[in-house]
Subunit: 377 residues, 2 copies
DNA sequence: CTGAAAGCGCTTACAG
DNA sequence: CTGAAAGCGCTTACAG
């Protein structure tokens, strides 16, 4: 494979006709639209003066307080529009003792599972006044650090914590905070949560592979610190055992990457290669995520094994891409999970004392071409 | 294909051992860790009183003001730690006239290109005190709406606008704002920007396909309102013409989806199918994104065409997944783009009046197995 | 090195 | 329906 190194280049007209401008050197001479980092702009005092009312009245019209006459409301509105007034968010938050932003702490944006869940979240949020702060926490230490920021006083109206084991310091952090929390893809008895039944998913995968004639299954697992990955594996292994087949330690390959890594193509590729290099050729592979399955299939292809003829492969997640790759997998309703997570958070904000609720989705088998049963049927 | 409908279920112990709790109904009886949506917690007044100093002094130690004696600094610190004090972000922003959050307006999180760029951004940001607000703007109207929120007074120290045509209302919005802006994957003479040379990418794709023996190329393009997609296509077509080959209108299929859709697998699939159904079987296909290429390959597979033997395929982006799919493509340095975008924004915040700079990356050809030259070589 | 005071831009009882 | 005033929790000259 050949990769020409990319480079950023400057100071020449490139093929697209865009004039490239180096950091120093005056090229653009038009008026600079940017003035600084300080807030300027007009306040309620400006519009109060202009409209001939008090600031209280101005504030009332912007808060849709009914106790403002139509007349004054109209003139305030007109002045505000003309001057391009907009409330200052920090001042408003401070005075209201309430903020309109919520935070999501996710292991990494470049994990497509999270991208999909966040998409669902955003779609649901778009009809609300809330803004979304996204914190990235690839390692367990990062989770604590980012949680600290997200739970900062006045920072978030609520936080959604993704895929984190809630115990120890993190558990303490959450307990000390008054911010509503919902857990996504993880569990703790004290907090609302939304997840899919990972054990059940593993069980379904095992049943399915068994029915498809697999006799020597292997598991490509992400980092064992990941609770979802562990549950998927345990469900799989348990169902195997209930069918009289045991999962040999040699057939369980675990990613050594950081706590929430191992959910990527490379880990799947490496895991599959390590199996193959050890002379192990399973006839069925359960990967704890779709991307791992994709990596594994690449390893199989490079080693001249055919999927599903030689090796059947099943993933987990059902990313949109899985469909176009013909990947058999267990679907998590990612979009819906994001939307529901937001609903739960709103519910908790409105009723802080209501009973904690856990929503668990059942994963659904999506039968495609990387397994044999589809062919048989 | 069979998909069992997933469902959320409640009130039974599921296989994973998690007790499912319905929304109403008391099951969790432990102490509720959540108390409400209002800020509580201790302020500088509390710690000033406890430490026997003024609030000014407390503030100074938290702002690392050197003019505090070591002794008082130590006691204030101790009291603050003991009481678990943390500054209130809104109060601080208001008083400082400055906020520590920046905003990114992206078409959609579920487009993996953005997920990768944002990852690069986050990685760079993690060493800074800044937080990231993510706005999602799938349609052109949404862009205006979200920009309005992101540019709200006091909202963002800076905003990064992704893939949006900066003209008309949007241009006006930016001009009226004092917030530093950097453009990512788009261009305007008045704002710092970072992008890749899309036309050049198209040209390279054309040259490459031609060299690989393609005689009847086709283009699978995203929505024509997308400037990057248009430039890629134009570069491709131009280079073809310079080589005496013209791109017939029948061989240019354009997605009819919304302004920033068409960058997805389904669009690639549908585009390829429409070609095939019209009896057109190109021997080379340039897709304006990797995911479109993946969709197209699925269509080809379903129609029993072999890649690259019958049809060569080249994508754009070089998502991590492309490598494991053997997809030949043009790489954009997504991670680096995110990091650089942040640097540009910081630079602009510090030097509001400095010359506008445009950074353009040259896309790099990554030669893999969906084209023939790799095999020939 | 430290404190009193004004101010950041809103909201919201409290009177009228 | 409207206004004066206090307050949200900080920061930052200004004095000392």
């Amino acid at each position: 494979m050949y990769v020409s190194a990319y480079s950023s280049y400057s100071l020449r007209a490139c093929s697209s006709g865009i004039l490239l401008i180096p950091a120093p050197g005056p090229v653009f001479n038009g008026p600079l639209p940017i003035r600084g980092r300080f807030y300027v702009g007009i306040t309620i005092y400006d519009i109060a003066k202009e409209a001939g009312v008090s600031i209280a009245t101005v504030s009332r019209v912007f808060n849709n307080n009914p106790r403002v006459s139509e007349g004054t409301r109209a003139i305030v509105q007109e002045v505000a529009d003309r001057l391009g007034y907009q409330p200052h968010v920090s001042a408003r938050s401070l005075a209201r003792r309430q903020t309109e932003t919520i935070s999501a702490i996710v292991p990494m944006l470049s994990n497509y599972f999270y991208a999909e869940v966040l998409k669902g979240l955003q779609d649901r949020m778009s009809a609300t006044p809330f803004d979304l702060l996204v914190y990235s926490a690839p390692t367990l230490d990062d989770v604590g650090e980012q949680a600290e920021k997200a739970l900062h006083r006045g920072r978030s109206a609520g936080v959604m914590l993704f895929s984190a084991p809630v115990k120890g310091d993190l558990e303490r952090q959450l307990q000390q905070s008054d911010t509503p929390v919902v857990l996504v893809d993880c569990y703790h008895p004290g907090y609302d949560s939304i997840s899919t039944d990972n054990r059940l998913g593993g069980e379904i995968a095992a049943e399915y592979l068994l029915a498809a004639g697999v006799q020597e299954p292997a598991v490509l697992m992400a980092n064992p610190l990941s609770v979802p990955a562990s549950h998927r594996m345990e469900g799989f292994r348990g169902m195997l055992e209930r069918n009289g087949i045991s999962l040999a330690p040699s057939h369980l390959v675990v990613s050594s990457e950081g706590y929430h890594d191992g959910f990527n193509e490379q880990a799947g590729y490496d895991g599959m290669m390590s199996l193959l290099e050890a002379g192990i050729v399973p006839d069925g592979v359960f990967a704890t995520s779709d991307v791992q399955a994709i990596g594994a299939m690449d390893a199989l292809r490079n080693s001249e094994y055919k999927v599903p003829e030689d090796v059947q492969v099943i993933g987990f997640d059902d990313l949109p891409i899985a469909r176009y790759l013909g990947l058999t997998t267990l679907r998590q309703p990612m979009h819906e999970m994001g939307g529901r997570a937001f609903d739960l958070l709103m519910e908790r904000m409105v009723h802080p004392e209501s009973t904690v609720a856990h929503t668990v989705f059942a994963p659904a088998l999506v039968d495609r071409q990387t397994t044999r049963s589809a062919i048989v049927a």
